[in-house]
Symmetry: C2
């Protein structure tokens, strides 16, 4: 597959080097078209759509998604975004005063906020294990995180691929290790589905949330939450509506609780089968491989330019279609705007603790030229002292 | 304005008599087109849209909405639907064990569920005052509800227009009465904006939630929550995200808390100015008046046919563009399907307690013919003993 041919399958502006697929994704054209067709179909008979036909589509889409991520269709519900999924769990997960939720200092800020809010409410601790970077190996991470486990640990919450640092974490090993200790694991897979191979059955996480609107290329606001059967009944809906104490309960309280969320446009969820078909049609494993190669081939170059080291070994173990490199600059917003307005590059500068990271994402529509433009821009900004080097 | 001319301004199927505008509304064509244009604009540069341009549109839309409902633009936030607004309040409104939230037995079931859930959690009581129907006068309702007020009443929660019974309640008088007793009032205006004149400053409710996707004809998932300045700081976000403990707080914590809800398609909110412009262009006060007249002219006919009495005097004081008449039938779902499939009529049968109501809504695209079809269908279903009469 020639990546260049895929450029026209997206609606993105042609004048911008779009290197921030990681934040909000970008909809594949046929998926977007199908999205708007569903919306039109809904408007033609809103009642029939919202109460019958649309619900049948919703079920089909859930089944297709479940197959794609390898779980039972009744164990996964749609949520607007992964933060929504985290909120459901953080609100309801039973925690007593003194209990701990173990996590890292690499997590997404919105999720940190949800956990801190609910842990505080329950007198529990959100324990953000400070992970020493760069990681030397998967075992290095496992050793660091597991040092935080103790007899108060009730849950481990961990990104599959981190946001600011773009690191694929060894979640498989953490799940196996936690299982032995009888500690449930909740994986935040905001960046995972469609980006890396995802097999929930093989992974064995007890809870998993993922975005479809990023690497699966569906419209914004389409994500999912998986909860293993054993824990489903613990989770109250975030929005208490008709599904709570339902008049005509379905076979699954889990679905009733979380799928019935009042009037909304749920068309984005319906496009999931189209997104999966799109990936199949264009041989996505191969597209992904080409993208990963591009990411890795350029990684050292950016590290050298910015006088820094990679945050982990430059292998498929840690790196997929995103790469973060530390960058030193006074004003993050100004730098982002400069990239966008002066250089026509859309690339994020991510803040994490007291550090900043330039994160590039590579998707089907990108090519070496985009990264060369970024490289030249950074070089020029270094010469202008807008980007500093150690 | 000839209502017939407005029929083409909607996307509804032409073969159906659509008499259920009340449930999910129906998008006006230019508003729907604008909706999809915003979505396309978002896809062309997702980052720029989600972080900058779209936020400016969002602010403009909020200002237009605030002007339309007469409140300060910083006192209103978007929510997906009124149930979402009710959930925000029910979760956060400070209630102690023994406190009471006073309401009626005419409220929307999803909202009842939210209040019951959170009242139970806090040891408070959700006190559903049983309103005796038919109402004789506005004073009749006021007398009945105020009998429920006591020194444990912390909040009055009330529909502006009820769902199953389609009654416009005397919320103005209730707000005035409650103010004297220093009890805040929360009005559920799911059916109000765009349906009846709405002036929040004149009304004086402390909290108000309304749907834009019903009578304002915007896309599904666009609603609002107004909270008076004095109470804003009590309300935590339903979804804890970046706006909670914000890195760069705006001038309003209320906006930060409730507007920053993670990645979603917020285009529906952006169409609000277009919806308002649409109503202005077609002289909506006059369209509404014609619709109300049609509702009232047919009301007695349906009461007579079904051997029942109106639930309130057939005046503008109680009736707007919806009318509910009690109907006796064994199987509500079957009856709905018969109307839809056999008679090509989309009309709901609403359940409330042990009673059922046939509720017709009249909007710009309806005409006498739609109600005649409904009348004939009901008559035939009576003759077939599918609808029973007392």
């Amino acid at each position: 597959m020639d990546l260049f041919l895929l450029k026209n399958k997206f609606l993105l502006r042609k004048d911008i080097s779009f290197l921030n697929f990681g934040s909000f994704g970008a909809c594949a054209r046929p998926v977007f078209e199908r999205y708007q067709q569903y919306q039109l179909e809904m408007e033609e008979e809103p009642l029939h759509f919202m109460m019958e036909k649309g619900l049948a589509y919703l079920k089909q889409a859930r089944e297709a998604l479940a197959k794609f991520i390898n779980c039972h269709a009744d164990d996964v519900v749609y949520v607007t975004n992964p933060s929504y999924g985290v909120n459901i769990i953080a609100k309801s997960f039973p925690l007593q005063p003194g209990d701990e939720v173990l996590t890292t200092n690499l997590e997404y800020g919105a999720c940190d906020r949800a956990w801190k809010y609910y842990c505080k409410q329950k007198g529990a601790t959100y324990k953000q294990c400070a992970i020493q970077l760069p990681l030397q190996s998967r075992q290095d991470f496992i050793t660091q995180l597991s040092a935080g486990i103790n007899n108060k640990t009730r849950l481990i919450f961990l990104s599959h691929i981190t946001s600011a640092t773009a690191l694929k974490l060894p979640v498989e090993e953490i799940c196996a290790l936690a299982r032995k200790k009888n500690i449930p694991v909740f994986i935040d897979g905001a960046h995972a589905p469609g980006h890396i191979q995802l097999d929930l059955a093989a992974l064995g996480a007890d809870i998993y949330t993922g975005a479809c609107h990023k690497w699966m290329m569906t419209p914004k606001g389409s994500s999912f939450l998986y909860v293993c059967k054993e824990l489903q009944n613990l989770m109250d809906p975030l929005l208490i509506s008709w599904g709570y104490d339902a008049i005509a309960p379905s076979h699954s309280r889990f679905l009733d609780y979380h799928e019935m969320q009042g009037t909304r446009d749920f068309s984005a969820f319906l496009t999931i089968p189209d997104a999966i078909a799109f990936m199949q049609k264009y041989n996505w494993p191969e597209v992904s491989r080409q993208c990963r190669d591009l990411v890795k081939q350029n990684a050292s170059r950016f590290c050298d330019l910015l006088h820094t080291k990679p945050l982990a070994p430059l292998t498929d173990e840690f790196i997929a279609q995103m790469f973060s490199v530390e960058i030193i600059t006074e004003n993050t917003l100004q730098l982002h705007d400069l990239f966008f307005k002066e250089y026509k590059i859309q690339v994020p500068i991510m803040q994490l603790g007291d550090k900043k990271f330039l994160r590039y994402s590579i998707q089907a529509f990108n090519c070496q030229h985009d990264l060369d433009r970024l490289y030249d821009a950074v070089k020029e900004l270094i010469s202008k002292n807008i980007v500093n080097i150690n």
